[in-house]
Amino acid sequence: MPYTVSTPVFEGPFDLLLQLITREQVDLWEVSLSAIVDGYVATLESIQASLDLETATEFLLIAAVLLELKTRRLLPGPDDVELDEELALWEERDLLLARLLECKTFKDAAGALTRMMDNAGRSYARTAGLEERFAGLAPDPLLGVTAERLRDALQLTLTPRPGPRVDLDHVAPVRVSVADAVAELAEELPRVGTITFGRLTAALGERLEVIVRFLAVLELCKQGRLEIDQAGNFADLHLRWIGGDGGAGPDVAVEEYAG
């Protein structure tokens, strides 16, 4: 059944999609692509009048991907779909997934900023400044200033600073590519045979690395080289290699997901 969103509290297509999917998350096995797509399209219809062209395009683009995914599921079999087309669809979907993850990441980061602001906001800074007895000490700050110097000061202020003037240690991007992970798994899994996803990722420190592994596993599954099995909700995924000796396999053109 389509969702009716009475007040659009979402800010964009990713927001909306995140909301629709996470609302369905109550029971993983009941996640319904159809309901999500219907909800998305219904919302799009209800808000289309208020959208500018650029935003509407973005919404429509994602609606198109979703509808294609839905159509794909309703079709009786893959035989009548061109392989290229199917791969392209998968790629679209992975891209959409990556963008949803990115959107969610910054939503949560924004939550942390809010908490920091709320904490810091309870303290107020002293800004009293100099007492009168010291005021005479500071000479007129505009001694010898001409109109030209004023202009030059502004020009310099508006001049781009040489590169970022901020310390960006903490935002050093963790770059991990799905393609690399696929190659790595194709190397390793034939030797192991079967393994759980939990064990496969146990040694990884960064969440992003786990996600990239997960996308790589999906990629291999999609290529028909890996079988995935899961006993029940939230149970560990069992992976079984069925792709022969491994090696590079088909060319993998997957997006690099930079965190």
Binding site: R93, M116, R126, P164, R207
Partner: protein, 215 residues
């Protein structure tokens, strides 16, 4: 009992109207900057021990006096301008993107959020939280935005390095899996063996049936 250097720091910070760098205090007191840091930490410890209504903190690269957070209800009656007005969810999200991805262009922000960010970026710029920090060297010379010292003061941070690492917010495997399932076209792949692949089965005729059973 406070030392002469500590007393001098107290006196100077009392007449300051912005955070004062350790380097400048060091210069005036003729001690090393690291000694200044020690002295400030000792002062702050003594204020805490005496349960004072104020503290010395380090924000945006310098030291300043500020009121103790406990006493906000009293102080707020004296603060005229509503300087702590809340930002909208959209503004905060955009701020998070700029903070972690700076320097970043308007178009890059829009690409991450999926909607135009012009209005929100303007709001953040007006508040003084972000500013133009350069131009993209590529064609178009897009304006690049970064965060300001004002934002650090607002967040109560000494430097950007104190922001929690972004990796901390990357969704956990459960969320990834939920999102992945939500977008799954081919539901058969991750199914336990017992559940039929609807694409292969004979019940693919009715869309209603599919939606109900296939989730």
């Amino acid at each position: 009992m406070a030392s002469e250097s500590q007393r001098a720091i107290e006196a100077i910070l009392m007449v300051a109207d912005h955070p004062i760098e350790a380097g400048l205090l060091a210069q005036v007191l003729e001690v090393s900057p690291s000694r200044v840091e020690e002295l400030c930490a000792e002062l702050q410890a003594s204020y805490e021990a005496e349960d004072r209504g104020f503290s010395i903190v380090r924000v945006a690269g310098g030291y300043r006096y500020q009121s103790h957070p406990d006493l906000a209800p009293y102080v707020e009656r004296f603060v005229l301008e509503g300087q702590h007005a809340r930002l909208s969810a959209a503004a905060l999200e955009t701020l998070a993107i700029v903070a972690y991805k700076q320097p970043i262009s308007r178009a890059q922000v829009a690409a991450i959020r999926g909607v135009s960010a012009d209005g929100v970026l303007r709001t953040l710029e007006q508040r003084g939280y972000i500013a133009e920090v350069g131009r993209d060297p590529g064609p178009g010379q897009a304006v690049l935005y970064g965060t300001t010292g004002t934002l650090l003061e607002r967040l109560g941070l000494d430097s950007l390095a104190q922001l929690p690492p972004l990796g901390q917010f990357v969704p956990g495997p459960e969320v990834v899996e939920a999102l992945e399932l939500g977008l799954r076209a081919d539901a058969a792949a991750a199914r336990p063996e017992g559940r039929a692949d609807p694409a292969a089965g004979g019940d693919a005729l009715s869309a209603e049936t599919l939606e109900d059973s296939d989730g």
